[in-house]
Structure formats: C-alpha cells, structure tokens
Amino acid sequence: MSISIHVSLGQVAASLALVAIAAAISFWRRTDLERDIAIATVRSLVQLTAIGYAIKLIFDADTIWLVLVLLTVMVLFGALTARSRAKKVPGAFWPLLIGLAIAAASTLGLVVALGIFEATPRYLVPVGGMMIGNAMTASAVALNRLGDEVSESRAAIEATLALGATAREAAAPFVRRALRSGTIALVDSTKTTGLIFFPGTMVGMLLAGAEPADAVRLQLILLYALLGSTAIAALVATGLAYRNFFTPAQQLREPSLH
C-alpha cells in the first residue's frame, strides 16, 4: 500500500473558492453563518497544518512513545470536548475519559494483534485518530441522551426506586436508550456505505491512485474497527456515568446539586 500524491498550496488555495460559495449562500439566504464559516476555515487550516507537522515529526522519529503521547492527548481533548455536550450528566469527564481510553486501546491493540496493521506510527496515528474521534462523538451523543432521559424521567426512576430496585435497575431502560443513540448513527451509515456516500478513507485512497480493491478493503477494516470502538466507548461511558445520578443510598440526586 505505498501511495504517493503531492498537493500544492496553490491547489488548497483554489479550493477556498468553494468556501466562498458557502459564505455567499449564507449571506444571500441570511443564515448568519458567515462568521462561523470563516472561523471553521481558519481553524481547520491551522489545526490540520499543526497536526500535519506533529505527525511528520512522529513519523520521522519513528518511536512508539511519541505515538502514545499523541493518542493520550487526543483521548484527553476528546473527553473534554464530549463533556461539553453532556452538561446534564454530573461528573461526565471521567466516564468519557475512561471510555475513550479503553476504546482506543482495545481496538488499536486488536488490529495490531490480529496483524491487520503494523505497530508503527504510520498506521497507529491515523487509525488511532479515527477511532478516538468517532468514539468521542458516539459517547458524547450517548451521554447527552442519558442526561436528557434522566432529567425527563425522574418520576419514573423514583417510582422504580420506591419498589426497592437498585439504581442500576431503575436506570437500565434509560442507559439502554442512551447507548443505542450513541451507536446507531455509525451503524446506519455503515449500512448505506457505498450506496449513498463514499467514506473518507476510500475517497482519499482512490484520489491518491490506489487500486479500488485495496481502497475498499482498507475502508472495510476501518469501518468494522470503528463499529467496535464506538460501541465500547459508549458502553463504558454510559455504564459509568449513570451512577453519578445516584447517591450510595440508591437515591436520585437533586438536579440542583449537579
């Protein structure tokens, strides 16, 4: 799979024409998104350029330790970002952090152990980034839903607790729905992949001149690994986070105390 493609800065600059169209549509239809489009464009340029240099540094150094540092930073920022989407869940940071760490470690460990990828920076960095990014989205969606479910269903949860059910039993239907919300988006997009949209890795490989068969196989591996990592992250995050709604005496905490 050795592919080489050169993209000049001029080509990148030319693609800004499409950004101009997006901004023009926003201005014309008064969706008031011009400022956000500008911020998104500048941030993507700065962030991707920075990560590009960081990845080059890590590839050149060719040491697993730098990869681990980068993946750790990604997990940390992923948990912080996801926490901002789970405001109704008390103490959401640790469940998210642990969920992302376990998802990244187990899926990367498995793809290396099964001999799918080599344990080198060239594979671990991009694949790890994809796993953590998707796991972050899945666990953020799951905890966001969990927060909404619990705050809307306090009466139902307390009615079950009043029968002497444990917090785990009382929260089970809501945890299940939250977990489903977190994982269903990727399951659905996996079902339609190739029919309605071409996933990014495959597009990138085809553009870079790879054989379609290689592009498809690599894409399949990544999709299947992503299914695993999103499910693990959402499972761990919801499984730990629901406990924070309850006291050790199996009482539902008051929302004002969150």
Binding site: A155, A156, E158, A159, T160, L161, A162, L163, G164, A165, T166, E169, P173, T247, A249, Q250, Q251, L252, E254, S256
Partner: protein, 227 residues
C-alpha cells in the same frame, strides 16, 4: 369516626428533621410520632407533605435531624429492603412499559416473592381481566390502582400514599378510598396518606399530622390535629 388508637405502636419517630432544597427550607425542625394504623399528613400545597413522605422510605435524606423506624435509626436499614417494607406509591402513576402483569411481576420479583397476580389486582380493586392489558391503554385511575397493586405485590408493612386520589374524578376517588379502607380491614398494614383535603383525612385516617410551611402545627388524634 374511627377509634383513636392511642395505644398503637410508634412506627416512625421524627426529631428536629430539616431539609433545604434550592435555598428554600422545605422542612423545618419537624418533630412527630407516626403510629401504626392510618395517619394522614395534611396541609396546603408546598407545605412539605410529599417531601416528608419521601424521607420515610429514604428516597431522600434530611439535611439534619433524626428519623427512626421501629425504634431503629432509618439510616441503619438497607435502603432497598426498607423500600420493600415501607412502600411508597407516588402521586402520579408511573408504570414500566408493558402489561399490568409484567409490572406486578417486576415488583414481586424485586421482593423475591411470587406475583400472586389475582390477589394483588383484587386488593387494588381491579378485575383479573386487567392482567394482560397494556398500561399505556389504561385511564389514570386504573393506572393508579395498578401502582397500588404493584406495591402490594411486595407485601409491605407500611404503605406511603402521596395524594392517592388527586388525579381522579369523584367516582374514581370514592372507589380508591373504599379500596384503601378494605385493605386496612383485610391486611395488617399501616397507611400514611398525604392529602391536601382534611375531609379525605377524616375518611381514611385515625391520626393526623398537620403541616404548614414546612412546620408541624398539630399532631395527634384526628379531630384534635385537624381542628
């Protein structure tokens, strides 16, 4: 009027019980003895009645003060076992999705008991044909009765009822009150009923605790406490 059972055993002892929520003093140094038999907790809305009821099976704990149940501090009981023995039926029915039967079986299962479906439905004033009905199809009054039947499936010693008829019309209210009176006759069970209606307290209870703005203003024999 019922006999006032002055000799009745004290179930709950509350001493200097206070609770603050959202900066508001909901319960303010509550002191009361709740006896076996039937006790009404009476007061206007916002007086802290429902909050007080929730403390009795530890759905919440007070910020300060002490509550004892059968001469033992409430906090020494396993909260799950306590809630099966002192069962709370909330003001608004909130059942698990599914059939009436599955709700009763769930509650019985938590208490490690056989469902005894017919007995529970009959005690709650429901025909056994209700067993297979989906709870989503029931009226509020019927759901309230399923809540009662579900609680009875655990064979509790004490039933805590939070405004058991507030969501019902007059006919349904009278039927539920008759069911509660029947329960007292048939089972050795104590009732603690929260109500805003002194007349309902007179119909259901032997004793009363009257609350106003989180404080006990009267406590004891029914007429004495309500007058």
């Amino acid at each position: 009027m019922r006999d006032v059972r002055d000799h009745a055993a004290v179930l709950f002892e509350l001493r200097e019980v206070s609770l603050t929520r959202g900066g508001r003093r909901v319960l303010d140094r509550i002191g009361a003895d709740l006896h076996s038999g039937a006790t009404a907790i009476v007061g206007p809305s916002g007086s802290g009645k429902s909050t007080l009821l929730r403390l009795l099976n530890r759905l919440a704990d007070p910020d300060s003060g002490a509550i004892a149940y059968r001469d033992r501090p409430l906090v020494e009981y396993d909260p799950l076992a306590l809630r099966r023995e002192v069962s709370l039926v909330p003001q608004l029915p909130s059942l698990l999705p599914g059939s009436v039967e599955s709700n009763v079986a769930y509650a019985a299962g938590l208490a490690g008991r056989e469902p005894e479906l017919e007995r529970c439905l009959s005690l709650a004033g429901l025909d056994s044909a209700f067993a297979t009905r989906d709870v989503g199809e029931l009226s509020v009054g019927e759901r309230q009765r399923v809540m009662l039947g579900r609680a009875l499936a655990q064979r509790p010693d004490v039933l805590l009822l939070d405004e058991p008829t507030s969501a019902l019309d007059h006919t349904a209210r009278d039927a539920v009150e008759a069911t509660l009176a029947e329960l007292r006759r048939e089972l050795d069970i104590s009732l603690i009923v929260v109500t805003h209606d002194p007349e309902q307290a007179r119909r259901l209870a032997d004793r009363a605790v009257r609350l106003e703005a989180g404080r006990v203003v009267a406590c004891g024999a029914l007429e004495e406490a309500l007058s």
